[in-house]
């Protein structure tokens, strides 16, 4: 698809006189070795695997849009040995992006939904492109292999250590050393991440994107709606606070590039318009993955953008499935120890068990009532919005079924089947109708 067919108007206005052009962040001196070629082969196989496993999103508009952003960031005429640029969207509600050394850049639907505008998406892609151009995967792999060798040798030394004090010392060192070495590995990676952030800013400036959006996207990533960001002994990225600080300071030195808010608003509207179908797809994935708080937060953003639409249905679904959970985590739940406890519980409890536990508490009951009410109200509004979709009736059916209103539930399900006779979940809904209409003994 040609870029012009989906180029947001804001982009056309955004282009200004060329600003300082920095040299592409290429690692010219890099020479491929056997181990690098092995990594390259693994990357190519990973590409096929992601495709085969149904994880790549087949939305040509979204993929072409991401491709356009990526290609505008790659310096003109740049040829890199064994790199072929590919930009794809992955069906994953967790906000994330990664680049393979063969030039494949993946952006998740969760990240697409989280960012506010094209410049922020460009910031992420610029960061990932730097990893490829600077051959970070190969560099890190070589470094890791050296350290693993050291770790193994140290383990051997520990096993054959002499007795007495000296032996005890070596044993202690080798017990602790793997962790120290791991920290070094991840510490080394932090340097690469920092380099990717800063070079990414340079690339954004060269492609005439608003570089301050790199800082804003970090702030968005710092939101921990699901309470998943646990600080461990090591982390492969510098802390987001730290990244915001050094990026702000780096940008401060590069003067007056702050984009006018109105321009950003226009860019945001254009971005949402293009990505709305992807965002809806992501909402479905978020709900399926039990990321209910994220679903409410993101669906509300969609409704704010385009209120009188199918988006109301998605917000209703998000509230219905949120059930007895609170829409936001409390300060106490945001502490590192609380997040660790929650992560442990997630490993043990099923979503149904979590709901049952919460419903046994007054706060859980209160949340459940409020959210079911809110969902019902939103379903009703969705029915009156432009082009109501049949799934609204399915959602209402599920809501009424949970509320114990068997007749109402069956009626809504029947309406759904009538309006969408070839729906993918037709069999499931028919079985539910049968169960609901079955006379109770």
């Amino acid at each position: 698809m040609a870029f012009t067919s989906f180029c947001p108007p804001a982009l056309a206005q955004k282009k200004k006189a060329p600003v300082e052009a920095t040299a592409p962040p290429v690692r010219e001196e890099f020479k491929f070795g056997d181990i690098d070629l092995d990594i390259l082969e693994q990357s190519n196989l990973l590409d096929s695997k992601l495709e085969r496993d149904g994880l790549v999103l087949h939305d040509e508009t979204a993929n072409a849009y991401v491709r356009h952003i990526g290609q505008s960031l790659v310096p003109k005429g740049l040829e890199l040995e064994r790199v072929s640029w590919n930009f794809r969207v992955l069906r994953d509600p967790q906000p994330n992006a990664f680049a393979l050394p063969n030039g494949s850049v993946y952006i998740t639907t969760g990240l697409i939904f989280l960012v506010d505008n094209e410049s922020q998406l460009a910031a992420i892609i610029a960061h990932e492109l730097t990893h490829v151009m600077r051959r970070h995967t190969y560099v890190q792999n070589r470094s890791n292999r050296k350290k693993f060798l050291t770790m193994n040798i140290m383990t051997a030394v520990g096993a054959y250590a002499p007795g007495g004090i000296a032996g005890a010392v070596i044993i202690v060192v080798t017990t602790v050393a793997p962790f120290i070495l791991m920290a070094t590995i991840y510490g080394y990676s932090q340097d690469l991440e920092r380099e990717a952030d800063l070079k990414g800013v340079d690339m954004m400036i060269s492609a005439e994107y608003s570089p301050e959006e790199m800082v804003n996207v970090m702030k968005l990533l710092d939101q921990d709606i699901e309470g998943e960001n646990i600080r461990l002994f090591y982390n492969d990225h510098p802390s987001l606070d730290e990244r915001i600080k050094y990026l702000s300071s780096y940008l401060g030195a590069r003067a007056d590039r702050v984009t006018h808010q109105m321009e950003l608003n226009r860019e945001r509207a254009a971005y949402f318009k293009i990505m709305e179908p992807v965002m809806r797809h992501d909402l479905q994935l978020s709900i399926g993955a039990g990321r209910f708080r994220s679903a409410v937060f993101l669906a509300q953003r969609l409704v704010d953008f385009h209120p009188d639409s199918e988006n109301l249905f998605w917000l209703a679904e998000a509230y219905r499935t949120l059930g007895p959970r609170s829409p936001e985590l409390t300060d106490k739940e945001q502490t590192n120890s609380a997040k660790k406890d929650a992560a442990k519980k997630r490993q043990k409890r099923t979503a149904e068990e979590e709901e049952r536990e919460l419903l046994a508490t007054p706060a859980g009951k209160d949340n459940w009532q409020k959210h079911q009410q809110k969902a019902e109200e939103l379903y009703a509004r969705a029915l009156n919005a432009e082009n109501p979709v049949p799934v609204i009736h399915r959602g209402m059916g599920m809501l009424y079924e949970k509320l114990g209103r068997a007749n109402d539930a069956a009626t809504e399900y029947e309406k759904y089947i009538e309006l969408a006779p070839t729906a993918i979940d037709r069999e499931r809904i028919k079985r539910r109708i049968e169960a609901l209409r079955r006379p109770q003994i």
């Binding site: 693994q42 069906r91 060798l149 383990t155 007495g164 993955a289 993918i424 499931r428």
Partner: protein, 240 residues
Amino acid sequence: MNLINSVDAFRLRALIVVLATMLLIGLSSRSSHAQFLHPKITSKETTVRTVVVLPAKVNVVRDSMKGPEGMAAESDDLSSRVEKLVTEVLSKQKQVTTLSPQAAASSQGESQTNYNVADFQTKFDVLLPKIMKKRSDVKKGRFTMGDEVLNLNLEKTTDAIVFIRGEGKKLTGGKTAFTLLVGGVPAYLKLQIGIVDARTGDVLLYTDPLFGGDPTTAVDRLRKALEKGFKKLPAAPAKP
């Protein structure tokens, strides 16, 4: 004196390594028999006659002295082999018929079918750690994937869906020698197989066969491990 101490310490350490290895082998052979059945299966309320085996996801790595290396192509080959052998074992030992998930997909487009299967695979991946935390709860009927499984639109005769996961390790020559001398985890393959009711989503069987040795070349060992893994699953009665 110091020399004597160091020889003693070496012997003690060697003894510990040997004991730990024996313990590991002992545990491995025990867990290779571990299988848990839903009460609906043990009470014969539900019978598994026809299944759909979803694509297996088995990953192996090559463990060298310089750390683990990916084996994507070998992992793909192994996944297909495990899938075939599961089908073979279920058919020969349990008289269970296997249908293809693609053949059963109805009027959905190719992308939609792919998404659908991918989403169910992910759903199983989310449930798997919970099952592994307390495998014996399968016997209490605690785990379910819900009636959403019906959205796969499999053939009406399908009784159950088989999910296969696995992880394994192959050692390089250097690492094998290192493991023999110093100790460590030898080459192995551990599978995690769940059989899920195609109508209700209940986990009907969970088994995790395990065997030692290079997983990339294993055929007979793999078959034997699977036969043991499905030992408790009742054979399908002959059709009336």
